[in-house]
Structure formats: C-alpha cells, structure tokens
Symmetry: C2
Subunit: 325 residues, 2 copies
C-alpha cells in the first residue's frame, strides 16, 4: 500500500507539504495542491484515517443512539442526522437501545472507547446523566436530561394546543388523547398537558390514555385502541401522540364501521411519511425533523469549542390539514 512518503517522492514535494494538503492547513499553491491530488489518485493512496484520528485523539464519527431505527419517526431522524453529519465530513455510528438503560450505558461506553466526536442521544431521559462522559459533546433529541446537557426538540406544547383547537374548530364535543409511554418522562408529555388544558378551558369532556413500552417496540396498539374506541362510543375526536398510533386508529375504526372523518375526527403527530400513506391521509402536527437534525449536528459540533454553554433549542411545529378531520 502506498505511503505518504511515496506520494511526496512522486510529486517532488516534502512529506510536510502532502500532509498540509491532506489536512487543508497552511498556504499551498494551487498547482502544488493539484499535483499532490493527482499523484494520490495515480498511486491509489488511501489516507489512514485511523492513524490520523489517533494523533488527533478523536475520530470524525458521531454516535447516534435511538430506541429503534425500525420506528418510522427515528428512521427519518437517523436519515437526516446522517445527511447533515456527512455534509460536515462526519460519519454516523448507529446504536439501537430499545429504551433499555443497560444497553444505553453500554453503547455510551463503546462510543467513548471509540473516541467519537460527539453523541446524539434520542433514547431514554432519566437516570443516565452520571453515565455521560464529561469531556465529550452530547446533545439529546426530543429528550431533556438536565440543564447541563444541550437538547433540541419541537414545540410539543404548541403541537398539543394546535391539534386540540383544530378538533374543537371541527365541532368535536368529546375528545380522547392517546398519549406517550407510561413512566418514561419526555418532552412529548407536553402534548398531553396542552390537550387537557385546552379541553378544560372549553369545558369539553376528555380522557387521556397512556401507552406501553412494548407497544412502542412492536408498533402494535390495535387491541388496546379497539378497546378504547369501543369503551367511548360518544367520543367524536381523537388526538394521538404519533402518526403510527393514528394509522392504527384508522384501521380499528374501519373494522368497527366508524367513519373517519364523518363519525370521528382524528389528528396525529410527527408528520412522518406514513401520515400520507394511509387512507384517509392523516391531519397531523408536523415536527420539522430535517431542521431539528441540522440543528442537532450543528450544536454538537460547536460544543467542541471553548466556552460553549449548553443550549435548549425548541423548533416550531405546524398543523397540516389532510383528510382525517
């Protein structure tokens, strides 16, 4: 395999010059730069990133921990994180934690050992602070751990408000909310808080149902949703905390001859691609997933700088009207 020295010799320059071209450091004449690149190509020279990383003490890798990339929301998140990391010359190392605390800690240790440049944490919220490395930038995504750790999330409270107000504007008089996972605190819980407040303010009867970790994992809420729908024959509007749940509400209603939107209005959350693949298409709250990912990568890379202060970024959501309301 050709070395830096081979490239330098063939290009008739010093090793230092080749190294400066590679690292884009110092002043180099265009003609020299072109020549070095041409020789690297001729010799099929591959810089050893491993050795370079060791001398820099860091790789240009960003660790991404998600509960499961099988979940359509996190699959979109991981996609955009990779796209924006690649734009900055960073690679993404992917970790599925299944919301298990021991797996999360194991992955964090693994990422530390691999000298990643930073971690985007999209998994669990609590108890994990002590396991996070002091000297490694971390940002949480739709999760908030503490004031010491940067986070990016969408305006969940506004989302809950927009969804609920829209159902009221449609004339609904009796609302249900299918909420996030019981016992895992998340920013998404603010969707429920807003739902309850708007209902109370308008003196509209409402009920909140929580979901389980196992349902989140399997993406299967059907039996549970069917029971809820059958238990509440007077409900005329449902706000679900995800589009996945909304898609299953559509199925359960169709099975029980409840027409959407005629008999029951439905609003989801996330605006993942699935929301446009159902029949009827789902009215939903759009999280700006792409912009949230761009912001997460940007914030993470800035954290390597001195004097960085942890930031909490909240991006706005919008209501998207489709056919389920």
């Amino acid at each position: 395999m050709p070395t830096l020295k081979d490239v330098a010799e063939k290009a008739g320059v010093t090793i230092t010059t080749v190294s400066r071209v590679l690292n884009n450091r110092g002043y180099i004449k265009d003609a020299t730069r072109d020549k070095v690149y041409r020789v690297m190509k001729e010799l099929d020279y591959q810089p050893n990133e491993l050795a370079r990383s060791l001398s820099k003490k860091r790789t240009s890798i960003i660790g991404v921990i998600v509960p499961s990339v099988m979940h359509p929301f996190f699959c979109e998140v991981v996609n955009y994180l990779e796209v924006y990391a690649a734009k900055e010359g960073y690679k993404v190392m992917l970790c599925n934690s299944n919301h298990q605390k021991d797996k999360e800690i194991e992955y964090i240790d693994m990422l530390k050992s691999n000298k990643v440049s930073g971690i985007v944490l999209c998994s669990r919220t609590t108890d994990i602070e002590n396991s996070l490395p002091d000297n490694l930038p971390v940002i949480t995504f739709e999760r908030v751990i503490s004031n010491q750790i940067s986070s990016v999330s969408c305006d969940n409270y506004l989302g809950g408000e927009l969804a609920t107000r829209h159902l009221l504007d449609c004339g609904c008089k009796n609302l249900l909310h299918i909420s996030g996972i019981r016992n895992i605190l998340m920013p998404a819980d603010a969707r429920r808080d807003a739902f309850v407040r708007v209902c109370e303010e308008n003196e509209i009867p409402c009920k909140v149902y929580y979901t389980e970790e196992a349902q989140f994992q399997s993406l299967n809420y059907e039996e549970y949703l069917e029971q809820i729908i059958l238990d509440n024959p007077d409900a005329d509007g449902v706000f679900t905390s995800s589009d996945v749940i909304a898609a299953e509400v559509i199925y359960v209603c169709s099975k029980n001859n409840i027409r959407i939107p005629q008999d029951l209005k439905l609003v989801g959350f996330d605006d993942i691609r699935l929301a446009s693949l159902t029949t009827p298409k789902i009215s939903t709250i759009r999280q700006p997933i792409e912009q949230m990912c761009a912001c997460a990568i940007d914030t993470l890379l800035r954290q390597a700088d001195q004097g960085f202060l942890p930031s909490k970024t909240v991006l706005p959501v919008t209501f998207i009207k489709r056919e389920s309301t």
Copy 2:
C-alpha cells in the same frame, strides 16, 4: 485518564495479564479476571479502541450503504444489521447514497480509509465493481454485482410467482404489475419475470409498469398510479413490487371509489410494518428481512478467514394473506 498500567498496578498483576483479560486471550483464573474487571470499574478505565484498532489494523466497524434509510424497507434492514452486528461486538457506520454512483464510491473510499472490517452494500448494482476494495470483505444485500462478491437476497422469482398465482386463485382475469426502478438492474426484477410467465402460462392479459428513481426517493407514486388505474378500468388485480406502492394504490383506489378487495385485488411485496398499518391491511410477500440480515453479517465476518469463497445466499419468501385480496 487511567492507563492499562494503573489497572495492572492496582490489581497487582502484570500489564500482559490485563491485556489478556481485555482481549479474552489465553488462560486466566476466574478470580484474576474478576479482580481486573473490578479495578477497571473502580478506576473508570476506558480501553482506547482507536489504539487497539491501529495495532490490529482494523476497527470492529461494519459499513452499511443504503439508498436511503428513510425508505421503510431499508430502515428495517439497517435496524436488523445493527442488532446482529452488535451481537458479534461490531458497530455499524451508516451511509445514505441516494443511489448516486459518485456518493457510493465516496462512501466506499471513506470506509476503506476508516479501516472498517467489512461493507454491506444495499445500494446500486452496476459499474461499481472496480471501486470495491480487494482486501476488504463486501456483501451485497438484494443486489448482485458479480460472481466474485457475496450476496444475500430473497427468492424474488418465487415471490412473483406466489403473488401472481394468488391473484389468479382469487379469480382475477386481468392483471397489472407495478415494477421496480427503470434502468437499475436488481434481483427484484425477477418478481416481474415470474409475473409475466405465470400470466402467459394461464393466458391472462397483463401489463407491466416501471417506476422511476425520483419516485423511490420521494416515496411518492400517487399521480402515476392514479393514471395507471384510470387507464385500466378492466384490471381486477394488481401486484406491486413494494408495500409502499401498494399503500398508495389503496389510497388512489379509495379516492376513485374502487373498492379493495371487492373491485380490485392487491398484493404487495416486502411485508414491512406498513403492510399492517393500512386499511385494508395488505396481502403481501414476506421477505425474511431479519434472517437475511443475520446471514449478511455472518457471511461478512466469515470472509475475513482464509480460503473463503464468495457465496450467493437466497432465502425463501412466504405469502401472507391479509385483507387486500
């Protein structure tokens, strides 16, 4: 930061012993091993994977190149590849190529420079052979490049046969097939070949429509599908080459008051989670995605051995009856 030496001193053993415990090599008494682990924990010792990798000349990272992890099929593939890689102590580096040849080559070069242990290539088929490294294990996933490169795929021909025969068994007399991307050769094309052959054998009129790269990227086939459905009022059965396309056929039919399955029977392909999230749920051909991923990781890691011969593994598909037929 504590070093190997600190651990050895505190545990009262030699550096070699600590290294043997870390690398799980040679005979070590259980009591010694426990002691070393206890001290590592006490000191919060983190092995420097980067330095270890440099001495082994390889990282324990597997590169995975997909067109886009946004696509629900590849999101399931990436999920299982990570799960099976993690079981063997490997990490996954994720790359989205968008089916662009130059991006694929750039990613392959990047993975080479980063000394990954192997590459799972789920992107384009053709012209890329010369860019693949000689000394690095590569396996293609639902793509076949050449006899020199291992591959894992599902039995696409059988899938096409099962889907078409099922439509005939349902009494269909006029069939349509919405096929893969025009001008990109893939094993999935065998689904179309089987469809055409079964139709010809049974003297059933049939038409094949191809799709475009841009539609695959955007997951949006709606206008195109609506035109096809309106152009073929006599069609009573549709076989689509993916569940994503099938979900959009359901939408387009509902919009045009064509009832599924009463007026039109529909069979998809893949059996991704989406197939059970639509109303009606989609009858489809199940690719054994999890087993294909387990096989890809296993084959890739075996390739590091001497005397390895490139293998083509084809795993069986099954027909899953749901509500669209």
